[in-house]
């Protein structure tokens, strides 16, 4: 026992510098905040970063720190053969391992708890009667414990990775990427990421213990620890030796054999998944359901024009060629709207199938779906996505790289450009009157949705400049209709050419780089001789004008309120009550997400069924439980105003998962 304690003390001494580094990483703000902030205005939530859904960055820091500490345990002792001195001591190998691991864990736990102590210091001077009392011992002890827990879990992973020396970092880097990706694709699997331990959830003021995640990651960490023991102290010495600079043929063959078996199994799995799920037309469906033939084969064909190269499903040749034949004239109209004479060559994939969007653009590439789309809609989507391509070129990607503050302008001005282009005189005879009428109707309903959000949810233009806080409260698809009214307001206040000029202004020489929000638009608009306040006035006027013109329609739109009404092992039942008679054509939708930090692609939508017999009328939504993770979730009720337009949503609400 005494030997173990002595060893532990020796290890703690050797880890002291790394502990200090950890302190600098976690508590370095003890120096930086007084230099950059007035600490008597700090709140505990702000300095500790413990708002619901936050914590990803801190988990990343703990990841680095835990790996540093773990890599300090064994590799060097082996490289410099000092481990042999330890083996020569009259103690068991397990004791050596235990002492090293305990020292590492103690260091990390100390760093985590010290972090909260310094957080206390950083907010202790705040006298505010409302936000100055967030620091409560119960909350703080839970925060520190969970921080320590995630550090310990990651330490064991680091210990295991260190068996493979620096090559051990490679699979963990890929794993880290994969976990982020999995979370994006299947939000309900977020619990696979150890960072979930510090992504806090609350019930009222109470920070909830993530018992399930603690148990899972604790178990995985124990396995990693056992594997690390086997690698460093046990029977797998030879595998470890493989990654030292000396190796033997036998260990190499063993390693390669294992990798080959594991690799081929994984490849087979991936091929099976890709073939089964990812290739369009192969999704498993109910075999008993009748299915009309929509596509003869999945062969693709290619068509080129002066400005575009299209790849499309051969079975959709007719509508595609109608689009292709008009695409150059459409692009010319788009360039006229934004005043840009040198459009780049654009490649378009028309075989896109997505539940999230009708089209997507990046650089000079566009993907959009052709299946089930009418001709005018294809024209509109192509114009919208082409506008994105031009935005990227004209702003030298500035708009795309600063989506946190430009998203509404990016989507809204692309929508505005598409509407303007299709209404442009140069397209008379290219787009049919019927197509132009359809597009004009879409614009009307789009404005209606924007005006309803303005009036009912009190969405202000200023709210749209901070995408993160906007998406916490409101429907993010408002970026299209509401953003379009922003572009229209710019055009009304400063002329039709102002929208294009503003896009260019973001890339002008000497444009300030670090400016965000209202200040960014104020500055960019000023640079083209347009006043931000004039745009605000024009926007108010546009909204008021739309509300006046659409009063009857707006009054007929019911408001939806409700929440969880039940559930079983497989599903959760939500119900929305309508405050007035439902509209005959309306469809209803609920969208769900884990928390406000969820990306658009992590939001899942489910249609509802209207019960008109009920008084008042109700819409029921069935949400698969697998779409929800954690103790709480958020939901957003919305309704169709017109099948062609974006839905009109209420505001996000929160509920416990039943």
């Amino acid at each position: 026992m005494r030997a173990a304690v002595t060893l532990l003390r020796k290890e703690l001494r050797s880890l002291a510098p790394l502990g200090l580094l950890g302190f600098a990483l976690i508590s370095g703000d003890l120096v930086s905040r007084p230099l950059t902030e007035r600490i008597d205005e700090n709140t505990y939530e702000h300095v500790a970063g413990i708002a619901p859904g936050e914590g990803g960055f801190l988990a990343f820091i703990f990841w680095i720190l835990a790996f540093f500490v773990a890599y300090a345990a064994f590799p060097r002792e082996h490289d410099e053969r000092t481990i042999e001195h330890l083996y020569a001591l009259p103690v068991k190998r397990a004791t050596i391992f235990f002492a090293k691991v305990s020292a590492g864990l103690l260091t990390l736990v100390a760093v985590a708890f010290l972090g909260q102590a310094t957080n206390w210091l950083l907010q202790a001077l705040n006298p505010n009667s409302v936000n100055g009392h967030q620091f409560e011992l119960g909350l703080v002890s839970r925060v520190a414990t969970l921080h320590a827990a995630v550090a310990c879990v990651l330490y064991f992973h680091g210990l295991f990775a260190s068996v493979f020396r620096l090559f051990g970092v490679l699979p963990y880097a890929i794993l880290f990427f994969s976990l982020l990706l999995v979370e994006q694709l299947v939000p309900s699997l977020a619990w696979l990421n150890p960072a979930v331990l510090v992504r806090f959830e609350y019930e009222g003021r109470t920070l909830l213990w993530p018992w399930g995640s603690l148990a899972f990651h604790g178990a995985v960490a124990a396995l990693a620890g056992a594997a690390a023991y086997a690698g460093w102290m046990g029977p797998f010495d030879r595998v470890r030796e493989l990654f030292a600079t000396r190796s033997t043929r036998a260990t190499l063959l063993l390693a390669l054999g294992i990798a080959a078996v594991a690799g081929s199994g994984f490849v087979a799995l991936v091929v099976w998944v890709v073939v089964t799920y990812s290739i369009p037309g192969r999704q498993p469906e109910d075999p008993s359901a009748p299915r009309p033939v929509t596509e003869r084969d999945f062969g693709t064909a290619e068509a080129r024009t002066a400005y575009y190269a299209f790849v499309y499903p051969a079975s959709f040749e007719e509508p595609v060629l109608r689009l292709v034949g008009r695409s150059d004239r459409l692009l010319e109209a788009v360039t006229r709207v934004v005043d840009f004479a040198e459009p780049p060559f654009i490649t378009v994939d028309l075989a896109e199938e997505s539940a999230h969007h009708e089209g997507i653009a990046s650089g000079t590439r566009v993907r959009m779906g052709v299946r089930g789309q009418r001709d005018w809609r294809l024209l509109h989507v192509l114009a919208h996505e082409s506008a994105h391509v031009l935005q990227g070129e004209m702003s030298r990607r500035y708009l795309m790289d600063h989506g946190a503050t430009t998203r509404f302008f990016v989507e809204g001005s692309a929508e505005w450009v598409a509407f303007e282009a299709l209404a442009h005189p140069s397209l008379v005879g290219v787009a049919t009157d019927e197509e132009r009428r359809e597009d004009a109707e879409l614009r009307r309903f789009s404005r209606l949705v924007a005006a309803a959000a303005w009036e009912r949810n009190q969405v202000r233009l200023e709210d749209t400049f901070d995408d993160a806080s906007f998406r916490a409260r409101f429907d993010t698809t408002l970026a299209y209709p509401y953003g379009e009214t922003f572009a229209e307001a710019i055009a009304r206040a400063c002329g039709q050419r102002a929208v294009g000029a503003l896009i260019r202004a973001f890339a002008r020489p000497g444009a300030p780089q670090g400016v965000r929000g209202e200040a960014l638009y104020r500055d960019a608009l000023s640079s083209i001789g347009c006043d931000y306040e004039a745009v605000l006035i024009a926007h108010d006027a546009l909204m008021a004008e739309t509300v006046r013109a659409e009063r009857a329609v707006l009054d007929a739109l019911p408001r939806l309120s409700g929440g969880v009404v039940g559930g079983n092992d497989a599903t959760v039942l939500l119900e929305a009550v309508l405050d007035r008679a439902p509209r005959a054509t309306a469809g209803y939708l609920v969208r769900v997400r884990n928390d406000a930090g969820a990306a658009d692609t992590e939001v899942r939508g489910f249609s509802g069924e209207l019960d008109t017999d009920a008084t008042p009328p109700r819409v029921r939504f069935v949400v698969p439980r697998i779409a929800l993770t954690g103790a709480r979730f958020e939901f957003l009720f919305s309704q169709e105003v017109d099948a062609r337009a974006f839905p009109l949503a209420e505001t996000w609400q929160s509920a416990p998962v039943p």
Partner: protein, 650 residues
């Protein structure tokens, strides 16, 4: 030479082939994983994205590990000495290792590129432009990162500090210059346009990258050759944990200090422009009035504000005023003002509806502009809670009394004095009073009483101060608190600790804060007894009451039930406003525009009303619920706030 090089190559292959092969299997698996991700990600634009993900996520750490394996391990293990003992120059081992590493990286990267192009060809035209762009970027990127990691490996124990130093330099360059790192050479090669560019070889980025590669190679070569490699030898000792930690701490410290001292690029000062803008004659005032129909109102407002701002400039001891702006916002009512969030130091801007038909509260508007000016001049420190009551009260007092600064009994309007009395009305726990603790908790008072009532109360405090210490005492207090710029750091905190707002109050009023608050309370009590105030209060007496209950609805849904009693003689047209907001688990100050407002209008003789807000609230949430009652026809000009509760939903 070739046989010696071949022998060296065989030795390195024997030593590292298995590990590299194993890592390559891992990289192949990683590629497949990235392919799966690219196929299923809803944001995928081109299948060539699998390759760029591979280069960024997998190839860079692989190059780091390979550099470590081929160079660092050899140096640290001292096996380099065996090579040095062989009858060959120092260039040969250098070249063999470099070429071996480059070949491995290129094989892996080009394999990924070709496979990615093959997948992409299913859904996009793979033409010469795309292929050339992709392959040239891949090759140059690989060679550049390999040159970087290889050379860093040559630097032995210096490489970790150098990694950190390069990172620091990158951060500093990005912050202080217009250089955008993402558009620089090798980083730009794998930038956002990697997967979609069809312009062939991006010559600028390629040239920059090759130059970078050349520079790294030259350094590496110098390390290997200078003084027969003795420098390299000297560095070939691993850093101790202590050294590594110290380097890390030094880096953290430099970054921290840099974060504190880095100059931030500033945009041009905002200058209001446009057709319908009226400029001030003697002060930098601009009024945007929206259209010709509001010009007359704007001119009247200009006359009022010009004299106020000029007097304020002198009173506060400012050499010059920043630009002060008022902008017409027709969607506001005449007594609601919005202060725009400008950059600190960029002046003040208040949005208001000053059209005559909106019956604007011009004193209120003037006060709002002065308040915005204080925020600007103090870098928003004026809002700090211990002095927030002065920020609320002085501007209103100024708007009423600036023309009577020499008179000791200048007074607010009756309406404002009546509003102040509403902050003292009987509460369930007894009459509310002006106390030090209540005034110190100004944000709480503001939430409970409402903006207009709170600022009216604060302005009566200025009247008391003028009575106790002379008519210029409020101005002296405002000048002491709000005339100086407060930096965005803790110097101002220490200054506040040494001289808190109560110290200034004591110095100016000549009495202890408690005594001042007692005097203020007594003044209000005396005012309440005046007939004109009593007549105003009569209109909103007895005070309405409201009770909030949370009732369980289905499952986790809860209903907010608010029972309101309005015991006024006349209730027809009386407006009940229910303001709500879902709160975070932590208390924060809620600004008025963050609240959702539901409006209910009472009918004749409708003295009680039950309001049920269903379908909004669920168990485990926290909500702020505020209930206001106002008689728009006969009331004192502001809603009476009868309930303001932060409630945890059980």
């Amino acid at each position: 030479m070739s046989s010696r090089a071949a022998a060296l190559l065989v030795k390195d292959l024997r030593q590292h082939a298995a590990v590299v092969a194993l890592a390559t299997v891992g990289l192949a698996l990683a590629w497949l994983l990235f392919l799966l991700a690219t196929l299923s990600a809803p944001t995928t634009v081109s299948y060539t994205e699998v390759h760029v993900t591979f280069l960024r996520v997998a190839l860079v750490p692989f190059a780091l590990a390979l550099g470590n394996r081929l160079v660092v391990a050899e140096l640290y293990g001292r096996t380099q000495r065996f090579l040095e003992a062989l009858p060959m120059g120092r260039l040969e081992p250098f070249a063999v290792k470099w070429l071996l590493g480059a070949s491995i990286l290129l094989s892996v990267a080009l394999g990924s590129a070709v496979a990615s192009l093959a997948v992409a060809s299913l859904r996009e035209p793979v033409d010469a432009g795309l292929t050339l762009s992709l392959l040239s970027r891949t090759v140059v990127f690989c060679l550049t990162i390999w040159a970087f990691f290889f050379t860093m490996g040559q630097l032995g124990k210096l490489r970790i500090p150098l990694y950190l130093a390069l990172g620091l330099v990158a951060v500093i360059l990005a912050e202080t210059t217009e250089l955008e790192l993402l558009r620089f050479g090798p980083i730009a090669l794998v930038g956002p346009d990697f997967a979609t560019s069809r312009i062939g070889v991006p010559w600028t980025e390629v040239a920059t990258s090759l130059a970078t590669m050349g520079a790294f190679l030259a350094v590496g070569l110098a390390m290997a050759l200078v003084r027969e490699g003795s420098v390299q030898e000297a560095l070939a000792k691993p850093m101790s944990s202590r050294e590594r930690a110290m380097v890390g701490i030094a880096t953290c410290t430099i970054l921290t200090i840099w974060a504190g001292l880095a100059p931030e690029p500033e945009p041009e000062p905002y200058r209001m422009q446009g057709e319908h803008v009226l400029a001030g004659r003697d002060v930098p005032l601009r009024i945007g009035y929206g259209g010709p129909e509001n010009r007359a109102a704007a001119e009247a407002l200009r006359a009022r504000l010009e004299s106020s701002l000029a007097a304020l400039r002198d009173a506060m001891g400012w050499r010059a005023l920043p630009e002060c702006r008022v902008v017409m916002r027709a969607s506001l009512d005449g007594r609601t003002f919005e202060a725009a969030e400008l950059r600190a130091g960029d002046g003040a801007l208040v949005r208001a509806n000053f059209a005559p038909d909106a019956e604007p509260d011009l004193e209120g508007l003037e006060a709002a502009l002065v308040r915005a000016l204080f925020d600007d001049r103090t870098n928003r420190r004026a809002r700090f809670e211990p002095q927030a009551w002065v920020r609320a009260g002085f501007p209103l007092w100024w708007a009423h009394c600036r023309n009577a600064l020499t008179e000791s009994r200048c007074s607010l309007s009756v309406e404002r004095r009546a509003l102040a009395q509403l902050a003292l009305d009987e509460a369930p726990a007894g009459p509310k009073r002006v106390t030090s603790s209540r005034i110190a908790a100004w944000d709480t008072l503001r939430e409970r009483e409402g903006e207009r009532i709170a600022e009216s109360l604060a302005a009566t405090g200025m009247m008391t101060l003028a009575r106790l210490a002379g008519p210029d005492a409020p101005t002296r207090l405002a000048r002491a608190l709000f005339s100086r710029w407060a930096p965005d750091d803790s110097r101002v905190v220490f200054e506040t600790l040494l001289r808190p707002p109560s110290w200034h109050l004591r110095a100016i009023a000549g009495v202890e804060p408690e005594a001042f608050h007692r005097a203020w309370d007594a003044d209000l009590a005396a005012d309440r007894a005046r007939s004109e105030i009593a007549a105003w209060l009569e209109r909103v007496s007895p005070r309405p009451t409201a009770r909030l209950d949370v009732v369980t609805a289905e499952a986790s849904q809860r209903t907010l039930v608010i029972d309101i009693e309005v015991p006024w003689r006349r209730t027809e047209g009386v407006v009940v406003g229910v303001l709500t907001k879902a709160l975070l688990p932590f208390d924060t100050v809620v600004e008025p525009w963050e609240l959702r407002r539901d409006r209910f209008v009472l009918g004749p003789n409708e003295h009680t009303r039950r309001i049920e807000l269903a379908g909004r609230v669920s168990r485990g949430e926290r909500w702020l619920v505020v209930v206001e009652v106002e008689d728009p026809r006969e009331g004192p000009g502001a809603p009476v706030r009868v309930l303001a509760e932060r409630r945890e939903i059980p």
